[in-house]
Symmetry: C3
Subunit: 273 residues, 3 copies
Amino acid sequence: MLKECLENVRNMVPLVHNITNYVTVNDVANVLLACGGSPIMSDEPEDVEDITSVCGGLNINIGTLHKSSIEGMFRAGRKAGQLGHPILLDPVGAGASALRTDTALELMEALDLSVIRGNISEIKTLAFGTGTTKGVDADVADAVTEDNLDEAVAFVKKFAKDARAIIAVTGAIDLVSDGDTCYVIRNGRPEMGKITGTGCQLSGMMAAYVTANPERKLEAAAAAVCVMGLAGEIAWERMQDGEGNASYRNRIIDAIFNMTGEMLEKGADYEIR
Amino acid sequence: MLKECLENVRNMVPLVHNITNYVTVNDVANVLLACGGSPIMSDEPEDVEDITSVCGGLNINIGTLHKSSIEGMFRAGRKAGQLGHPILLDPVGAGASALRTDTALELMEALDLSVIRGNISEIKTLAFGTGTTKGVDADVADAVTEDNLDEAVAFVKKFAKDARAIIAVTGAIDLVSDGDTCYVIRNGRPEMGKITGTGCQLSGMMAAYVTANPERKLEAAAAAVCVMGLAGEIAWERMQDGEGNASYRNRIIDAIFNMTGEMLEKGADYEIR
Amino acid sequence: MLKECLENVRNMVPLVHNITNYVTVNDVANVLLACGGSPIMSDEPEDVEDITSVCGGLNINIGTLHKSSIEGMFRAGRKAGQLGHPILLDPVGAGASALRTDTALELMEALDLSVIRGNISEIKTLAFGTGTTKGVDADVADAVTEDNLDEAVAFVKKFAKDARAIIAVTGAIDLVSDGDTCYVIRNGRPEMGKITGTGCQLSGMMAAYVTANPERKLEAAAAAVCVMGLAGEIAWERMQDGEGNASYRNRIIDAIFNMTGEMLEKGADYEIR
């Protein structure tokens, strides 16, 4: 099934509109191409509606907000909603500044998001900010571990239900849930955290996966997480003596480029809860 | 002759002012350095006239437009025109949004462009938008192939004459014409399309080539196309097992870095029509 | 002692707020991660004070100025000053445009800078612009060489004293001074100039070094210069046949990633004047 998700991306070549930060934008574009999609970037409010209209999905990343790009996010998001395009939100740095937190919450309020992908800290910020997680969830730890996995799964499921979106929390253990089902994914390498933007890259790829798999968005989102983590494992095995995070970045994108459905099925390490 | 164009770039080290998109800007800068030029980036309207004044050429790329950068393009372009600097326009996404199409057409109208480089779809948008290609050219296909080459060459020649600029259409077959002569170039690899920004990179390098070869701009533009395509071929041959588009990107820039006039003369695959 | 500076960065993992240009921002982020720090980028005026508040240091780079990012620099810088965070200024292109020169001078005036790092031309622009270097220093050459080293050291010391900041002038020979002491550093390779943004990368890393070594900022700044230059030497030795500036860029970041205190102590090539 993950295999089918991957192959649908390669066959459909989904065009994804990205409103994303200028730090990791080039890697996001190359990862989208590597996985079989096609990227286009535009954040100017007067440009975004036309651009989103020629695309199949929208990836919104708040890593480097500008006043005009915020307006672009809302305009693109509303247009994408009208067109029935899936929208992914990557709330980079939510919790670190009022502008980021507020913008993310307002985007959640205004737009019909298909997926929200972030680290546990960002996702908790959104969950608490929307007031949907009062009570049982307030104690979710700052990292998902084998020890707190039950609570974390319950938290992610509840927030997904409340937010009416697929929630993907990535870290050492990744969780992807639509409210009913939760994928618990154990692919990846800790060294991926030494590369800037692996999260942004995953969000771009996930937008392509969800766009190319409209009938099984949850599985597609989980497949993208597995692809990224597995690529991190494959790339790490290929590292040569003396290489570091720059080469690792390239090797991960290369591994995504060369990933097949068979490799994904074989290498994906997940359980469903 | 291509050799001389390349060597003039390495000897003159032309400083090129780039107003370009934030997706591929780093690669554009590194390609400019690789080919022997020197890059400087600036798009703020209050900054661009000073910057263009210390440069030898101007590369305008509309890949991620902002209102202020659009103003920067016009101000830099007028200043460059006054100084007699060559100006290259890369109309990224013309046809995909009204803002892009209109901006490209207005830049064509306002500025004395030396070169316009884009894919066939972008170039057709400009040709039809300026109303200069009514009649015979309306049927140009969406890709230049051996089958429609005669029509495509005629279209590019006519548009070059009407636009009073060198037109470079890049794709599987590349066409570069000043209206009278058309270079038909068959270097390159289809896998180059899996890297973001090879077109932007070529535009940056082409601006350096035209700047360093003021007496033979057509040949210089064609030489830049050959360098890019040949670098794509050399880089592909050097690809190792397990590598993908990230490594290919690096290998192409490396190949440009190491390209000599002799390699170019030997590897360039073109005819003149 | 350089060893201790390096290890303090790896142990403290300083979070550095970067307001930097969009050309080299990704490399700056990866170099910060490679050296043991952690990057965050934000230039929107409404966002920068919150972001700087969660960081330990601030890196301001004027490589691609925008009106709003200039405001962001002042707001972030004032906040960082209130919080006692070290601030580094990289005056990219000062002297090439009035906006860059004026902005750099105004930032010097308004903010309590810990370090200013640039090439000799940029630093001279600031020194002459502030009127602090009249007289003896007016004849400093445009490149620091063994022949003019005495004058260059005197110039850098005087400007450091006048500016009340550590001044780092990088080039074939690097000078780092707090006004009293001057490190003269001879690490590095001329080929580093063929990569875009090695200066920006060094500034980012230097901000991390100064942040993690508050009691010995001068030595930390010098250590960062040695790390960058030594990484350039190590990376050059590892270059394979056919590689160029793209691979060199990656290899340098990789070498920073793998640099140990012992390697630094052994490879650093400096004298103190």
